[in-house]
């Protein structure tokens, strides 16, 4: 799927290059980074390239960490990351950085249990599953939350990511926030110290395939991937105590509680638009949601800067409209306004 999209983007890019006359403005922008927003971004870039004469945008979904590395090494025009950038990383960028949240997503717990259509997991239960403390599906703690559901006497096979990933960062961040024991045993980061008997698979699609093929499995994946493969998703108990299924509305409710700090990024006048929703408070909020960011240089040559600003503008207007169809959460209006203001700093 991803390959296909990439190929189509490439072909579109090539086709465009062939048709467009050798205009004065023949710009090729390259970016790399997060794989989670790739399906959405590639659609944006294809469409944007088509609308804008003489501009092609190439994006490689290498992963957030690799994107940040490319950005630091100055081999790309922009990058994308699910884990934003740390202060140390920002300090390495000489021309300055503008970090813009461009879209958002949810992380869901997908499972494979024959005949179980609806699975509710309480707040004190799912961190224990991912810490390896609850090992059987018919554990009384799971059964208590799911009266009337026939849970099998089967081992839980937990599937985690084998590679370093923004998805793991957000997911372990949430679990660490609500369960101190999880924080000390597994920890919070782009990789984590999962109990050694967990199965690990590469990338979102690898985890999805492994869950799909393994009876008794549970794992964390991005909402888009679960929607695309029609995998069942667990209903999680949020901070307010309600059981909430992942959906566009519950995701929007989670984003609504995001409060950006009024501070600027270190050594810069660009606003700090990094915010983590490790435990959103809203009554109808799905508990695991996150923004994903695009990273731009503050200073570059004028022609590029203008196209990059146009690209952001496109993503914030037409781009947001495409998001829900593809399993992403559109940004709340207040966030869009702040991002628009910050985008003007790309010079």
């Amino acid at each position: 799927m991803r390959k296909l999209l990439l190929t189509t983007t490439l072909f579109a890019a090539l086709g465009l290059g062939a048709i467009a006359p050798a205009s004065a403005q023949n710009l090729r922008l390259t970016g790399s980074g997060a794989s989670f927003p790739f399906p959405l971004y590639s659609t944006w870039f294809k469409d944007f390239s088509k609308q804008t004469q003489g501009v092609t945008v190439d994006y490689q979904a290498k992963g957030s960490g690799a994107g940040i590395q490319d950005f630091i090494n100055n081999t790309v025009d922009f990058a994308a990351s699910d884990a934003a950038m740390s202060d140390e990383e920002i300090a390495k960028i000489k021309p300055g950085v503008v970090l813009l949240p461009m879209t958002a997503g949810e992380i869901v717990l997908s499972y494979n249990l024959e005949g179980v259509k609806e699975l509710k997991l309480p707040r004190e239960v799912y961190p224990d599953i991912f810490a390896g403390k609850i090992a059987k599906w018919n554990d009384p703690k799971i059964a208590a939350a799911n009266p009337g559901v026939k849970l099998p006497d089967q081992n839980i096979t937990v599937v985690a990511r084998s590679d370093s990933s923004g998805t793991t960062y957000v997911f372990t961040g949430h679990l660490s926030e609500i369960n101190p024991a999880f924080k000390s045993s597994v920890g919070h980061g782009t990789t984590a110290q999962w109990p050694t008997h967990f199965v690990k698979a590469p990338k979102n699609d690898g985890v999805t395939a492994t869950i799909k093929q393994t009876p008794g499995a549970i794992g964390y994946i991005e909402y888009t991937y679960a929607v695309a493969t029609k995998q069942p998703m667990a209903i999680l108990q949020n901070k307010a105590g309600h059981y909430i299924a992942p959906s566009d509305e519950s995701g929007k409710a989670a984003l609504a509680s995001a409060e950006f700090s009024s501070k600027s990024l270190p050594n810069s006048d660009a606003p700090d638009l990094r915010v983590w929703l490790f435990d959103p408070a809203g009554a109808q909020a799905y508990p695991i949601a996150t923004f994903t960011w695009m990273l731009f240089y503050k200073e570059q040559d004028d022609a590029k800067a203008k196209v990059l600003r146009d690209l952001v503008e496109y993503g914030l207007t037409q781009g947001q409209a495409m998001a829900p169809k593809m399993g992403y959460i559109p940004l709340p209006d207040s966030v869009v306004a702040q991002v628009k203001k910050a985008a003007a700093l790309i010079q």
Binding site: G65, S162, D163, T191, V199, P202, T210, Q213, T214
Partner: protein, 325 residues
């Protein structure tokens, strides 16, 4: 000036002539080319070792040999150890060699010892060699979607019945050592089979006739005459197959479960060095990259040791069973 010893043997009107200056130049040129190619290979291996070694140097200095014997891989705390990966690499490759080697040599015997009409044997061999053309990732997908579901009931039955035996001490939920080793065995099969076929076919037919003449049965001839005579070639096949199994990456990263644990159980998930490199490299930070380079160096060393031991065993076999050449 180049000396030309045949120059004064020329007789006028003769059809044959001495090698011309061009012939000499061509000959010498080719010899230099051959030397250069050989030297290039050595230089390339040395360059790879130096390149990986120099990048791994900081990690070697920091972790020392403890890197090879500890089992934590924690990027956050900067603790790195690859014992589970070394274990998984050797265990999965040995299992694959056992299965793939047995079947590969079996196929070698089947195709060369007059069990099949020659034309059918040739067809068979082509089909087996076609296996080598299947990309690794296809094997991985086949493993996930076909092999694991097939294997699961068998494995879980074995676990129920014989859970006391360490090899069956866990149940197979999804990815694990057994499916990984089975796929590896299939992947090394073409290598082992086709080299075994070549080795067995090289034996002059009169050797077999002589064995029959001495009154051996077919199986006595195969086991006591043909196999020992071809032993150096068959051992070479096994060494190559083992080397391939050690370095195989994609199919294993998809099937083995990538769990850093050491378990004798065939159904538990494990990890290998190549799979670790493949899954961690793309997003590794500078410190982790040094550790990964150290792991790559360890894999390279294991492969070199295996090849050296294989060569030594081959030499012994040649000395024992074949005429010194």
């Amino acid at each position: 000036m180049v000396s030309r010893p045949f120059e004064n043997l020329v007789q006028s009107g003769s059809v044959s002539g001495p090698p011309s200056g061009g012939d000499y130049a061509l000959d010498r040129g080719f010899r230099y080319l051959a030397w250069a190619s050989a030297a290039l290979i050595l230089a390339l291996v040395a360059y790879i070792v130096i390149e990986i070694g120099s990048k791994a140097l900081p990690a070697i200095a920091q972790y020392g040999l403890g890197f090879l014997t500890s089992s934590e891989w924690n990027v956050q705390t900067g603790q790195f150890g690859i014992l589970p990966q070394i274990w998984g690499t050797l265990y999965s490759s040995l299992l694959a060699l056992l299965l793939g080697g047995l079947f590969g040599i079996g196929i070698g015997i089947f195709l060369t010892q007059d069990f099949l009409p020659p034309r059918l044997a040739a067809t068979f061999r082509t089909i087996i060699e076609l296996l080598a053309a299947i990309p690794s990732v296809v094997f991985g997908l086949w493993g996930i979607y076909v092999l694991i579901p097939l294997l699961r009931p068998v494995a879980n039955w074995l676990h129920e019945v014989a859970g006391g035996i360490p090899f069956f001490s866990t149940s197979l939920s999804g990815p694990g050592l057994a499916p990984a080793a089975l796929v590896l065995a299939i992947m090394i099969l073409p290598t082992v089979a086709s080299i075994s076929v070549d080795a067995l076919r090289q034996i002059p037919y009169k050797v077999k006739e002589a064995a029959y003449g001495m009154g051996t049965t077919r199986w006595e001839a195969i086991l006591k005459v043909m196999l020992p005579t071809a032993s150096s070639g068959i051992l070479a096949a096994l060494v190559l197959g083992f080397g391939r199994a050690l370095g195989e990456t994609m199919a294993l990263a998809m099937l083995i479960g990538n769990s850093n644990q050491i378990s004798l159980s065939l159904f538990a998930p494990a990890n290998t060095l190549a799979a670790l490199l493949a899954s961690s490299f793309p997003e590794a930070g500078p410190v982790e990259i040094q550790a990964l380079m150290y792991a790559a160096l360890a894999l390279l060393t294991i492969t070199l040791i295996v090849n050296a031991v294989g060569l030594a065993v081959m030499k012994l076999a040649t000395r024992k069973f074949e005429v010194e050449r």
